[in-house]
């Protein structure tokens, strides 16, 4: 019986884990931190299951917990790091020498991350759902609880704002 429950829970994790990660990432722009939030959110759900709580919509429950946890992490990371969130402090991830293309790409990614952090959480969320999870407009609309037409509009504006910010910072496409 316990094995069946674990298998069910593993399936739930495989089904919704990336979505929970994307939700946390959109709030915090920290891949490792988002992964910690995924683990924490699923661990909390598991405890609820163990306690016999009935959660009718685990996906909605997980996304809500992930959002709350991410908000808490953002606040606590601000206290730890002052005005600089962790990704800015940890741009350089390795001291190993890297090929020029990799360096250029990583530099572009670091600047993109900085610009993403300047966008609103709503813009980051819709971009994350589109590009991290590969969701189409209908899936994004279902996740965010909005109309498909609103998804097109929001996504278009988010992309435009990001492109403007990148151009203003002198960040060009990777060639």
């Amino acid at each position: 019986m316990a094995d069946v429950r674990r298998a069910e829970f593993e399936a739930l994790y495989q089904r919704h884990g990336r979505e929970v990660w994307a939700t946390a990432y959109a709030r915090w722009t920290n891949a490792d931190g988002a992964l910690d939030i995924v683990q924490e959110a699923f661990l909390r759900l598991w405890r609820e299951w163990e306690a016999g709580e009935v959660i009718l919509n685990p996906r909605a429950w997980l996304l809500r917990v992930a959002r709350n946890l991410a908000e808490d992490y953002v606040k606590s990371s601000f206290h730890r790091n002052g005005t600089q969130p962790p990704p800015v402090l940890n741009d350089v991830r390795s001291t190993e020498p890297m090929p020029l293309e990799t360096l250029e790409r990583d530099e572009t990614f670091a600047r993109l991350r900085r610009e993403l952090e300047q966008l609103s959480p709503a813009d980051r969320e819709i971009l994350t759902l589109r590009y991290a999870l590969g969701y189409n407009a209908a899936e994004i609309a279902e996740t965010l609880g909005i109309q498909v037409s609103a998804v097109h509009m929001r996504l278009s504006r988010a992309r435009q704002r990001l492109a403007e910010r990148l151009s203003a910072q002198g960040v060009g496409p990777i060639r």
Partner: protein, 121 residues
Amino acid sequence: MNAFYPPATARDHNWSPEDLDALLRSFFQAEMPHPWPPLALPAERRQPSRGPLVRGRWLLAASLALLLGGTWFLSAKLGPGGIKPEPFSEHGAAARRQPTPPAAVRPADDFDAAPATGRWR
């Protein structure tokens, strides 16, 4: 799909929709953990066997039932309206409490042999 692409503006002229698409896709794919890590659930807690607990409860219930039943039985027997003492009559306990009468009269040969003290009169 084209609905995702914003109209070109003066400030983002160097970012074509395809370039921005490619950058965002590669960026988010690099950010997403690969491979997707397994879930670390806490080790399963072994539930203690419930046998001794159930047995203990049954034992407690039986003891309580015995105690209550015994109390009820004794109160029914000894309390008001219960067992009454036997009436005082010559057939009752008072009669039985009378001293044992002297032994039966001895045979005549014993009488003759006894001293004349008047004891056997």
